[in-house]
């Protein structure tokens, strides 16, 4: 998957930065420390924007590109924060066969937010997920964890209307 680059302005706090520095300090000198550092950094910030990657690069001496290479390789690392309303559409086999591809496309167009990114105002994020284990309800999507099953493209407006 091609990762969508960060679209939301960075709003990190001093407190978050102190936490991050403590994490880097904790893993100093440890082999293979980059994965745990990135995981913990994502817990602190919710995502890994360039500002956070720069701090990690400067403090660990690992190049920015190597860090970005890791982040863009693993699906679990996010370059965009979840929106106020985090929409996740299942593109697992069952949902996909039942038309979830059209649904995610429709949502993306209606909100004008590319799949895999967050609207610049931070309100919506759209993510394509692997199978979430609700194939009986296919096609399925979640908004902030609330599940909507057996939906069609026509249902999209009604669902989105709840999250204005």
């Amino acid at each position: 998957m091609k990762k969508k680059l960060t679209t939301v302005a960075f709003q990190g706090t001093k407190e978050q930065e102190e936490k991050l520095l403590a994490v880097i300090e904790k893993h100093a000198g440890q082999r293979g420390a980059m994965m745990p550092i990135l995981q913990e950094a994502q817990e602190i910030y919710g995502y890994l924007p360039i500002e956070v990657q720069t701090i990690i690069a400067e403090k660990t001496g690992v190049s920015m590109e190597e860090i970005f290479g890791i982040i863009s390789f693993y699906a679990q690392f996010k370059l965009n924060p979840d929106g106020q309303y985090a929409i996740a559409v299942c593109l697992g086999t069952a949902c996909y066969v039942k038309g979830s591809g059209d649904i995610i496309e429709a949502i993306s167009q209606k909100l004008n937010v590319p799949v895999g990114s967050t609207s610049p105002d931070g309100k919506y994020s759209i993510e394509a997920t692997r199978c979430i284990g609700a194939c009986g309800l296919a096609p399925v999507l979640t908004v902030n964890g609330e599940v909507y099953g057996k939906i069609t493209v026509d249902d999209v407006d009604t669902i989105l209307a709840k999250y204005q």
């Binding site: 990762k3 690069a57 860090i67 290479g69």
Partner: protein, 583 residues
């Protein structure tokens, strides 16, 4: 030693050899694409597939396909390098590579010197039978180093060179699967990263995905313009490389033919940059002695290599005061031509087009740096690589091999042996020592060879006693080695007064603008040593071996600059640096 059988014949090979190395010792070529000796040995492209059977107890085990570049030989192993099964696999892998490769070979800069093209020709792969989606890409051409990922085969040779040899790591693999591409953090252009433009990635690339900005059309336009005085000076290493563009063996000295070819191209003057290498030595060694006498910032570090300079500015900004303020020989040349010579000839510096031929891509960046315009216009207008020089000569239909040797033009035609060896790691150091030793001892040197600083090792140190003064020196080539050396200096582990650093491993003879030799040649030959030998040979055969004895340099001081490090010399021949920092 262990015993193996290759294609039915028995060989004894060094323990720990890979199958590829064993085959090489047996004079059998195994094709490779991602393999680059000592730099990238990852078994990724799967072109080096061979069949092996290993001893399992007393008997031979089953035949298996392995990648020769990483698979170690074992006692009693049998290897087949050329079976129908192997050929079919290699062919299929080439077809798969082509299915996602821009086959714009006609206009590709690497056509006829492309490792992929060569293999496709050898294996009879004319097009791919696989058709489908193609990875999206764009061309990044904002820096002197251009990346066209539509040609990239993801071999990682550039990535490994950048990260492991130069220890810079501004390029790497982003995303995963079919979307994988080689690029920089957040997809940034190289121009926005801490890339130093050394061009080692270009030299590592087996295909046409990386190349330098081509300035030859602009140069040819200038030559054709009767209102311009278009002159060229050639760096020390170009004469040791240019022959390779015309089928000569690496390590052939083609100075005379090179000069003849440049004259045939129509330049109004063809000059020797060895002269300003000498001028650099006089300025730089004088600066060094001044710093030693006046408790200036030490160790002083050489400033000839623009790749190293940008590296220092990004990665070791605390050392920018240690850099000699001398411009590089290229920039000094342009500065001298556009001030002294323009005045002498009554030319407006604006009407001079100064071209330099250099084995370097970072020089293309250097010409645009601030504080490099002694006459109010850029000292040098175009810096073209050895490859571009070769291309211009080819394009003009000049039969290089048939040319009679010619001489550089006056008044910039004389260079000393000390200037010649600038192109090899340790050369600037040796040239400076030849000057400093005479200046400090106050008498003629009998032995001008300082062999301790010669050779291709990454870091060299030496100590010389000159009268009452002990001078400790260190030499590093490649920014990876520079990093190691500077960290030693920072940690107080190394006490030296003078350091020579070249951005490329082995110095300019192995620069990013050199003719590109395929991995198969680089596996058998150390280009750094072979080409450096040309320069040391030139030096040994010169009667003029010290920069200070160069009459052309003396004339410049007599007629124009006064004395070394004079106010005028500072204005014209020296420059300043920027603390860039990393991100």
């Amino acid at each position: 030693m262990i015993n193996v059988k290759i294609n039915g014949k028995e060989y004894s090979v060094a323990k720990g050899s890979t199958v590829l190395e064993a085959a090489k010792a047996a004079h059998i070529d195994i094709p490779t694409l991602c393999y680059l000796k000592d730099i990238n040995e990852i078994g990724a492209c799967r072109l080096c597939l061979v069949e092996v059977a290993e001893m399992r107890g007393p008997a031979l085990g089953p035949w298996r396909m392995v990648t020769a570049c990483v698979y170690p030989c074992t006692e009693g192993m049998e290897i087949k390098t050329n079976t129908p099964k192997i050929t079919a696999s290699r062919k299929m892998n080439l077809e798969l590579l082509l299915s996602n490769h821009n086959q714009d070979c006609l206009s590709c800069v690497r056509s006829t010197n492309c490792e992929l093209q060569t293999l496709c020709r050898e294996y009879g792969v004319t097009s791919s039978k696989f058709r489908g989606e193609v990875t999206e890409s764009r061309i990044d051409d904002r820096s002197p180093i251009i990346r066209d990922n539509s040609k990239c085969i993801l071999c990682r040779r550039c990535v490994a060179t950048c990260a492991k040899v130069q220890e810079i790591g501004v390029i790497g693999a982003n995303n995963r699967g079919f979307d994988t591409y080689v690029g920089s953090s957040f997809g940034m252009d190289l121009a926005d990263t801490s890339c130093i433009n050394c061009g080692q990635c270009i030299v590592a690339c087996p295909v046409g995905a990386l190349y330098e900005r081509d300035d030859t059309d602009k140069v040819l336009e200038a030559i054709a313009d009767p209102t311009k005085h278009t002159v060229i000076c050639t760096a020390p290493s170009v004469r040791a490389q240019i022959g390779e563009c015309f089928g000569y063996e690496p390590g052939t000295d083609c100075e005379g033919k090179m000069v003849a070819a440049l004259k045939a191209l129509g330049f109004d003057g063809v000059y020797d940059m060895n002269l300003t290498a000498d001028l650099t030595i006089v300025e730089e060694a004088t600066e060094l002695m001044g710093r030693i006498q006046n408790n200036g910032t030490l160790p002083m570090i050489t400033s000839c290599s623009p790749g190293w300079i940008k590296y220092c500015e990004h990665y070791f900004p605390e050392f920018t005061e240690n850099l000699s303020t001398c411009k590089s020989p290229q920039q000094m040349f342009g500065a001298v031509v556009k001030t002294y010579y323009a005045q002498k000839m009554g030319w407006d510096p604006k009407d001079i087009v100064m071209v330099s031929a250099i084995p370097c891509t970072a020089k293309k960046f250097e010409v645009g740096r601030p504080d490099q315009s002694a006459a109010g216009v850029p000292d040098v207008d175009f810096a073209i690589t050895t490859r571009e020089v070769g291309r211009m000569i080819h394009k003009a239909g000049i039969n290089f091999r048939a040319l009679e040797d010619a001489q550089f033009d006056e008044p910039f035609g004389i260079g000393s042996g000390a200037g010649a060896i600038f192109g090899a790691t340790g050369g600037v150091m040796e040239a400076a020592l030849r000057y400093a030793a005479e200046a400090i001892l106050g008498k003629k040197l009998e032995k001008v060879d300082f062999t301790e600083v010669r050779g291709v090792e990454g870091i060299k140190t030496a100590s010389y006693k000159l009268g009452d003064l002990t001078v400790n020196v260190a030499v590093a080539s490649s920014t990876g080695m520079a990093k190691k050396l500077l960290n030693m200096v920072k940690a107080g582990e190394l006490d030296v007064q003078f350091i020579e650093i070249m951005g490329c491993p082995g110095g300019c003879v192995n620069g990013g603008g050199q003719p590109i030799q395929p991995a198969s040649v680089r596996m058998n030959m150390d280009l750094r040593a072979v080409r450096a030998a040309v320069l040391y040979n030139d030096d040994a055969n010169e009667t003029l071996r010290k920069s200070q004895d160069n009459l052309a340099v003396q004339k410049l001081y007599d007629e124009f600059f006064g004395e070394p490090n004079s106010h005028k010399a500072h204005e014209i021949l020296h420059t300043s640096y920027i603390k860039r920092g990393l991100y």
